[in-house]
């Protein structure tokens, strides 16, 4: 049996640069334009440009194309349609193909004459310049026999059905714990409320973009805007019938993803096929409108939450039903019920999902998929319960505090939620809150305070990294991870510097290439925990290899020492029981004429880590540590809004977020990430919503002028803190992810503040002026 893995807690009891607010190591390259994004590899020999022609209608059949005018244009190289797209070895159009590819959608455009959604690509036009490709695409005529589409689950023609699984087969569609129906019926206090959530789009600054370069008939390099190079590699190689090794995917920089770049969407393989057809490297960027129908979205949905409670505010039953729109092929719904099942102590729980197929593309994970809308329903209803019973909203959350995971019965690996509540309340001044809704004014504006709980799970994940330490005191550390723009380059440099005992400016971290050791998709908040552990383990491997060199070197003071007796302190290899006996790593390497030494590491994140440690841990005294745990980050948001009662406008005027998320790798990038996620949530709460015309099943506001995301003026100064939290169960670094928890609970905190300000409970996101005006106050 293996021995338990070392942990950062053991080898670096005093952290060096880890945790420090180091400036971004890639900051200069980004602001000077040196950083290359996937659509910026313009020096490729003979690079040409592709644009997608998309369907106007949402349902129908293509009866023909008139390519004559388009093909006559100068510079036009090819127009690919379903009639002439080079054949693929596999498509996602059947269940087996979809699974093998790992496709987010069970349909690949340009493989049939059928049109299933507005914005579906129907042709890809390639020309020598972008402008010529665009013009030719405009001249290309598509003949379509249009049919009446179904627009959503609200469409009278839509048929609701009960799926067995949701979230693309990853979550059960029916969950029962205890007897929620009976407990609700018997509850002294019963609340039943319905919540709706608008369609949201991720809208990263960088659109989807692919540059495909066939370097040989059997060797392809793709520069792709993806959250995971390995996932794109798998998807593309499987569709082409190539081995993974023949397809290299590079993503050096990413301008945001938020989930929409977490899967390989049709434009990537279509660009690859276009490059094959014209025999030249081809570049394609989705236009901003195409971003609304190219890479998924958060689905339109209605949730009904029944909440049963005692008169002192203790939850006895939670029954959650969700109805949402999905595509003609897939059963996708965000799993909203997960967070409702685990956030508060409640013995009886039931969740079910209903779906309706409509002429839309498949929706996909959008930052905190399920947790964000699910927490909106739960945290709004809990707020109602608090007001109804005259209990402070924070107090009611403490009364229902879950000391263990109610869903699984497991102990928490770590949970600092009480500390988050206390610190957040202190920073915000929550104790000064007027308990009465609609009773606080600032001039003519109504002032409201609201709060909500945040949580996000630690998803099981693993990955690898490589560290090469040079005798001259430099190191290059590599993992095929992605930096979404949040700071992966920076935090991994910090981890490597501490693990190798080098200054950060002597360490270079490389990522975003399938030639590097495999790392997981940067999604589900797994990247920081997994990749940091991989990097740490690779450094440990370096030291173990170097110890072996030292103990076999006659000239070393460590000659013939047992490897297990040697430790590494600040780059010095020495005997544990006699630290004077030892020497610096560089001395050992120079004597051995080693310019460098390489280590490989495997990092695990979540339950897989705990399982492996438990299996390896022979010490019976540590048995309870090895018991399995439920693993989550927790946090709390506190929000002040000012509402104009006559105009219905809501402005967030104060914000406090406090999170317990394990070890924080970089105080500055972590704070920025929480701020960014909170703003993402404020957007969803107050203004974001894509409108699908219910007759045409086509969006009416697919632009950044008309789809509102917050501007600077919408956002106040934000206070963000972290609770110092040590979690030895989740990975070698004790790191939890913070990419998604930052937006969980945000919309409820805002809605709860709006209620406190106005006495109006708006249960429909976004909370726009029309809804504030139309909602009647519920409290006298």
């Amino acid at each position: 049996m293996d021995t338990a893995e070392p942990t950062f807690f053991d080898t670096n009891p005093k952290a060096g640069v880890v945790g420090q607010p180091l400036n971004r190591v890639d900051g200069r390259d980004k602001v000077t334009g040196k950083a290359k994004y996937s659509a910026e590899f313009n020096q490729l020999p003979g690079l040409v440009h592709a644009v997608l022609k998309t369907s106007d209608v949402a349902k129908g059949r293509i009866t023909g194309f008139d390519t004559s005018a388009a093909m006559k244009q100068p510079g036009v190289l090819a127009i690919l349609t379903h009639q002439n797209l080079p054949k693929l070895a596999k498509t996602p159009n059947d269940a087996e193909g979809k699974k093998a590819i790992g496709a987010p959608m069970g349909f690949l455009p340009l493989t049939t004459d059928q049109i299933h959604y507005a914005g579906q690509p129907v042709a890809i036009v390639v020309a020598d310049t972008l402008e010529r490709a665009q013009y030719a695409a405009a001249l290309l005529k598509v003949q379509v026999a249009a049919e009446k589409p179904i627009a959503s689950y609200e469409d009278p023609q839509a048929k609701l059905f009960d799926p067995t699984k949701v979230q693309d087969g990853k979550a059960p569609a029916h969950v029962v714990r205890g007897n929620a129906q009976a407990a609700f019926a018997a509850a002294p206090v019963q609340l039943t409320h319905t919540y709706t959530h608008a369609i949201n789009h991720h809208n990263p600054m960088e659109p989807g973009a692919t540059t495909a370069h066939w370097e040989a008939p059997d060797r392809l390099t793709i520069y792709d805007a993806t959250q995971g190079v390995t996932r794109t590699q798998k998807a593309v190689s499987t569709m082409l019938g190539l081995s993974a090794e023949q397809v290299r995917v590079v993503t050096k920089y990413l301008g945001g993803g938020f989930g929409c770049k977490g899967s390989s969407w049709p434009h990537t393989i279509l660009t690859v096929q276009a490059a094959k057809a014209v025999g030249r490297p081809v570049k394609l960027s989705l236009t901003r409108p195409q971003m609304f129908t190219g890479m998924g979205h958060r689905e339109d949905q209605t949730q009904t939450l029944k909440m049963g409670a005692t008169r002192d505010g203790k939850l006895t039953a939670l029954i959650h039903e969700k109805t949402s729109t999905t595509s003609p092929w897939d059963n996708y719904a965000e799993s909203n019920s997960k967070i409702i099942n685990m956030l508060y102590a409640c013995e009886n729980f039931e969740a079910s999902y209903q779906l309706a197929r409509a002429n839309v593309m498949t929706s996909t994970f959008t930052r905190a998929p399920g947790e964000a809308p699910g927490s909106f329903a739960l945290e709004s209803s809990l707020d109602d319960l608090a007001y109804q019973l005259g209990i402070d909203p924070l107090e009611i959350r403490l009364r229902n505090y879950a000391e263990k995971d109610p869903g699984t019965g497991q102990a928490w690996s770590s949970k600092s939620l009480k500390e988050c509540y206390a610190r957040g309340a202190e920073l915000f001044g929550w104790s000064k809150r007027n308990p009465k809704a609609g009773a606080t004014r600032d001039g003519r504006l109504l002032v409201g305070w609201g709060m909500a709980t945040a949580s996000y799970p630690v998803h099981n994940s693993q990955g690898t990294a490589r560290a090469r330490l040079y005798a001259d005191g430099h190191a290059v550390v590599q993992a095929g991870a992605t930096d979404l723009g949040t700071g992966t380059y920076t935090v991994m440099t910090q981890v490597a510097a501490d693990a190798l005992f080098l200054p950060v400016d002597k360490v270079r971290f490389e990522l975003g290439d399938t030639k590097l050791p495999t790392a997981p998709n940067s999604g589900g908040s797994v990247a920081a925990g997994t990749v940091s552990s991989s990097v740490y383990m690779a450094a440990q491997d370096v030291w173990q290899k170097l110890i072996k060199v030292a103990v076999l070197d006659k000239k070393s003071p460590l000659y013939r020492a047992k490897a297990a007796d040697v430790e590494v302190k600040q780059g010095r290899l020495q005997l544990k029981n006699n630290p004077q006996k030892g020497e610096d790593f560089a001395a050992i390497m120079k004597r051995a004429e080693m310019a460098d030494i390489e280590g490989n590491g495997q990092g695990r994140y979540g339950s897989g880590y705990e399982d492996a440690q438990a299996a390896a841990n022979a010490d019976p005294a540590k048995k309870d540590q090895a018991a399995d745990h439920s693993m989550h980050s927790f946090g709390a948001h506190f929000c002040e809004v000012k509402v104009d009662p006559d105009l219905g406008t809501v402005r967030v005027t104060r914000w406090v977020s406090v999170h317990g998320a394990g070890r924080i790798l970089n105080a500055k990038t972590a704070r920025s990430q929480i701020i960014g996620g909170s703003i993402f949530g404020i957007g969803a709460a107050l203004m974001e919503g894509t409108v699908r015309d219910q007759n045409y099943s086509r969006y009416t506001n697919a632009s950044l002028a008309d789809y509102h995301i917050p501007v600077n003026a919408d956002i106040p100064e934000m206070t963000v803190e972290f609770i110092d939290e040590k979690d030895p169960h989740i990975n070698a670094m004790g790191v939890k992810g913070i990419g998604e928890i930052s937006m969980v609970g945000v919309s409820a905190a805002v809605a709860n503040a709006v209620f406190h300000a106005t006495g109006k409970r708006v249960r429909s996101l976004p909370i726009t002026p029309d809804k504030v005006l139309a909602t009647k106050p519920v409290q006298a």
């Binding site: 209608v57 507005a118 013009y135 105009l647 219905g648 203004m687 086509r698 009416t700 501007v711 029309d770």
Partner: protein
């Protein structure tokens, strides 16, 4: 976007001459509206005539009022001292619009000619009577939450002018100086410049083919000096108005002697409201008066499913604006 030729015009005569008998050609100034429309294939112009160097410049006091050259930029006019002093509502309408980058580029003439943000107009995949006459109006039963409730027709309910400046110009009796291809100038009140959609929503203004906007002149009045522009929108900046109000009052001894009211975001054109003005003049400057004026302004509104809230919102916006200038 289609291919087009590009010519710089050195004079108004040269510019109008270049457009002679070319109904498809267009003038380009700041380009902040036109290029968007062309890129989205909503407008096709084989020829663009650049009028940025025309001498339609200057912000100066004349006997008829403040004269602003059509080629002045939104930011320059919004921050101009005379405009700030004499026409607070006009300054505010400019500075609350768009973004600093757009305001630095966009000309006054171009702003007056900006086109609707109706989602059905802005996407060539939809039918739209304004874009393709006779093709239909999906907005009537579709997403109309930010479309008009006043001046609508069965052909079109778009807020044809979605912006802010012309709302303030309409309120304060601003006059446009237009010049045609014969070099002849004429004057049109801003409030009469825009047309109701009726059965011809494609015809949005009284501008003749090839005619240029030379300048806008706004009379200096007491009510213009005591004015404001209030804009309600779904985010704090860079958004079109759900409802807006440009108002000015001349109040003496607590009684309203003169009033100017125009609404934005609720009409198919910048909506000057003589009904509201009538309800204000001669009345005490009180909230009750303002409420009555607001009700008068919105009488006859034709709300639809998604935009019914605008009837109340526009009234509240107007009342709040009037309260502000009444002090």
């Amino acid at each position: 976007m289609n291919n087009f030729s590009y010519t710089q015009a050195g004079s108004a005569k040269a510019a109008t001459g270049l457009l002679k008998d070319k109904p498809q050609a267009a003038y380009i100034a700041g380009g902040t509206t036109l290029l968007d429309l062309m890129k989205a294939n909503l407008e096709e112009h084989p020829q663009l005539v650049d009028i940025n160097t025309l001498p339609f410049k200057g912000i100066e006091q004349t006997k008829d009022g403040l004269r602003i050259g059509a080629m002045e930029r939104m930011s320059d006019v919004g921050e101009n001292k005379l405009v700030l002093e004499q026409f607070p509502a006009i300054s505010e309408s400019l500075l609350l619009a768009a973004s600093p980058q757009l305001r630095n580029m966009a000309s006054i003439g171009g702003n007056i000619l900006q086109r609707t943000r109706c989602g059905y107009f802005r996407d060539a995949a939809f039918p739209c009577n304004k874009r393709v006459p006779g093709s239909g109006c999906p907005a009537l039963t579709g997403d109309n939450h930010n479309l008009a409730v006043l001046g609508t027709s069965e052909s079109c309910i778009a807020t044809a002018y979605p912006g802010d400046l012309s709302v303030a110009l309409a309120a304060f009796d601003a006059v446009l100086t237009l010049e045609n291809q014969k070099g002849k100038q004429r004057q049109v009140l801003v409030k009469d410049f825009y047309l109701l959609p009726g059965k011809t929503p494609q015809k949005e203004t009284v501008l003749e083919p090839g005619e240029l906007i030379v300048a806008v002149t706004i009379p200096m009045t007491a009510q213009a000096r005591r004015s404001t522009y209030l804009k309600v929108r779904e985010r704090s900046s860079y958004a079109y108005a759900l409802a807006s109000a440009a108002v000015g009052l001349d109040v003496q001894g607590g009684t309203i002697r003169a009033a100017r009211v125009a609404l934005g975001g609720v009409g198919t054109k910048p909506w000057r409201s003589p009904e509201a003005e009538k309800a204000l003049v001669g009345q005490p400057a009180t909230e009750a008066t303002f409420r009555a004026a607001a009700a008068a302004a919105m009488r006859g509104a034709q709300p639809r499913k998604e935009n019914a809230f605008k009837v109340e919102l526009a009234q509240n916006t107007l009342v709040q604006a009037l309260m502000k200038v009444a002090g």
